[in-house]
């Protein structure tokens, strides 16, 4: 009998759409050889601070090549517990309320698999990180998108949550500051959102991976609000703040029962995060604060530069309070997201990501990552200006 490999792919996987970013990646890859300035990345341009790399090399030399405890090295969990307490004001016991994962990516997957029954409803705000919707789908959950709007600087509002809520909703997925919009919430809005989750008895998954990259005011975690720690899984990692994307290391903190459920999935699926990455993470927590502050300062100046330039060019752009993404409106110059991104790439060799890759809420926008040198940002903005002027005439 002739093999038909298609029929072996599980139904819910074959119907899973490919990431819009992936399409665009292929397009950029075809431009090889040309001088493309990329604002399309989702990671720092800084290499991991040397002291972290050096510590990991030392760990390798010392023969740290074994599996660690499923939850992660106790030293690292202690470090995470004090870091989260000092920076977010939430206290977690290192021995049963912290789990070290292979990036926030794995932590998200564990959470969805551990908490979602088939058909359970998961609310998430949108435009959002590309993985949320498919991850919910992979866990056989039903995703409910809650829109955020440019007029609110893409801050999530309790009103929008109320409006989108459906009976049976179980989980609220939050990402503040948000990829791709840089949106954050005021303390007042966050209080209202917290109240909403209590009223509706929701479990909150809070992805705070960009929290160190908050430029104005202080970042408040929803888990630090009264009564919220017991209904929140706090997800965080080292990728963005410490410039450690390739290490693949993150963590989740929360009520012991929930961490234990995530741990069950983790121990069978992953066993543990790489010991070398765990060593690097430990050094990052111990001695990385200065490097984080320095990088944040640079992102801050770069943000001010691109936001000002985008607005000058005629692409309406709010100033993102956190993250390293600007999310300007390309519809202001009469183009849709795809046409703008493709045209800009082909005519001026600047790569940005069409807003639609982050859900229908990103229509008419593009995401530009400003984790790139001043020179390149200036050049990219000049090219963009030329492109916009040409397309207008």
């Amino acid at each position: 009998m002739q093999a038909n490999p298609h029929k072996w792919v599980a139904g819910h996987v074959s119907t899973l759409p490919k990431s819009g970013i992936r399409d665009f990646f292929e397009l950029v890859a075809k431009m090889k050889g040309d001088e493309v300035i990329s604002l399309g990345v989702g990671e720092p341009d800084f290499t991991t601070p040397w002291h972290i790399r050096e510590h990991a090399i030392y760990a390798l030399e010392k023969g740290k090549t074994y599996y660690t405890s499923n939850l992660g090295m106790p030293e690292l969990r202690k470090g995470i517990s004090s870091y989260v307490s000092a920076n977010f004001g939430i206290d977690y016991r290192y021995d049963d309320q912290v789990i070290v994962t292979v990036g926030v990516s794995e932590a998200l997957d564990l959470a969805f698999r551990a908490f979602v029954n088939p058909g359970d409803k998961v609310m998430y705000h949108q435009p959002c990180y590309v993985s949320y919707h498919p991850s919910i789908q992979l866990a056989h959950g039903e995703a409910i998108a809650v829109p955020t709007y440019a007029k609110d600087n893409f801050a999530l509002t309790a009103e929008a949550l109320e409006a989108a809520w459906q009976p049976g909703a179980k989980i609220l997925m939050l990402n503040l500051p948000c990829n791709p919009t840089g949106g954050t919430c005021s303390k007042e809005q966050l209080d209202k959102i917290a109240k909403f989750t209590c009223d509706k008895d929701l479990l909150v998954l809070s992805d705070e991976i960009y929290s160190e990259l908050t430029f104005e005011g202080v970042h408040t975690s929803i888990a630090s609000l009264p009564g919220m720690a017991e209904r929140t899984i706090f997800l965080h990692g080292f990728s963005k703040a410490f410039a450690m994307t390739g290490w693949r290391i993150g963590y989740a903190c929360g009520p012991a029962v929930l961490i234990d459920a995530m741990m069950k999935v983790h121990q069978y699926a992953m066993m543990c995060a790489s010991i070398i990455a765990q060593e690097g993470a430990l050094e990052a927590l111990r001695n990385g604060a200065d490097a984080v502050a320095k990088m944040r300062e640079q992102y801050h100046r770069r943000r001010d530069l691109v936001v000002r330039r985008f607005n000058e060019i005629g692409l309406g752009c709010h100033s993102p309070r956190g993250s390293f993404y600007a999310f300007p409106r390309v519809s202001d110059v009469g183009m849709n997201a795809k046409a703008f991104s493709v045209g800009l790439l082909q005519q001026e060799k600047v790569a940005v990501v069409p807003g639609t890759a982050f859900g229908p809420g990103g229509t008419g926008h593009m995401r530009a990552c400003f984790a790139t040198s001043y020179e390149k940002l200036i050049d990219a903005c000049d090219r963009m200006e030329r492109f916009v002027e040409r397309s207008r005439s």
């Binding site: 990431s19 970013i21 665009f24 990646f25 950029v28 890859a29 493309v36 990329s38 399309g40 990345v41 989702g42 990671e43 341009d45 290499t47 990180y129 590309v130 993985s131 990829n179 300062e297 640079q298 100046r301 770069r302 001010d304 530069l305 000002r308 330039r309 790569a351 990501v353 040198s373 001043y374 020179e375 200036i378």
Partner: protein
């Protein structure tokens, strides 16, 4: 603006103006003020001359100098006299086993050696010198020389 200067980038005044969000004239004016206040003393390129075959041969020596401080003025008078020589690139007072750390540059080993033996060590008040010729420089003023590191492995588009 000071921070931008200290970040050691290669920004032109026009680019600095862009980053700071002010007019280029303002940047120039600010730099002028820094010069007036003797904070900003000048531009100097950081060159990796090992890469430039045509570059003039240059020899650099790091010299530890022990001196007798003077009754009035301590180390200053002597340090300033030494500093005035064109051959002297850097001169600083340090704590530890010697007093002045002097960096001397010359076209050849002989020239530098001659400067040390005929000029420097003959000064009244100088007790001894120890000369270390520089063999290879790995990091200069914050710049790694001949470092392979790059971010070129970063993908062009990522979530």
């Amino acid at each position: 603006m000071l921070k931008l200067l200290l970040e050691g980038g290669r920004l032109t005044t026009a680019q600095m103006a862009q980053v700071a969000g002010i007019a280029e004239a303002e940047v120039v004016q600010y730099l002028e003020q820094l010069k007036k206040d003797k904070i900003f003393l000048g531009w100097r390129p950081v060159l990796d001359l090992s890469r430039e075959a045509a570059a003039e041969a240059a020899v650099e020596a790091i010299i530890e100098v022990r001196v007798t401080p003077e009754r009035e003025g301590g180390f200053n008078r002597l340090a300033e006299r030494i500093s005035r020589f064109d051959e002297v690139h850097t001169c600083m007072l340090v704590s530890g086993g010697y007093d002045l750390l002097v960096i001397v540059r010359g076209k050849s080993l002989q020239k530098v050696a001659a400067f040390v033996s005929e000029k420097l060590s003959t000064f009244e008040g100088i007790l001894s010198t120890a000369t270390h010729f520089l063999l290879r420089c790995y990091k200069d003023q914050g710049f790694m020389l001949e470092s392979e590191e790059s971010t070129s492995s970063r993908l062009n588009v990522a979530p």
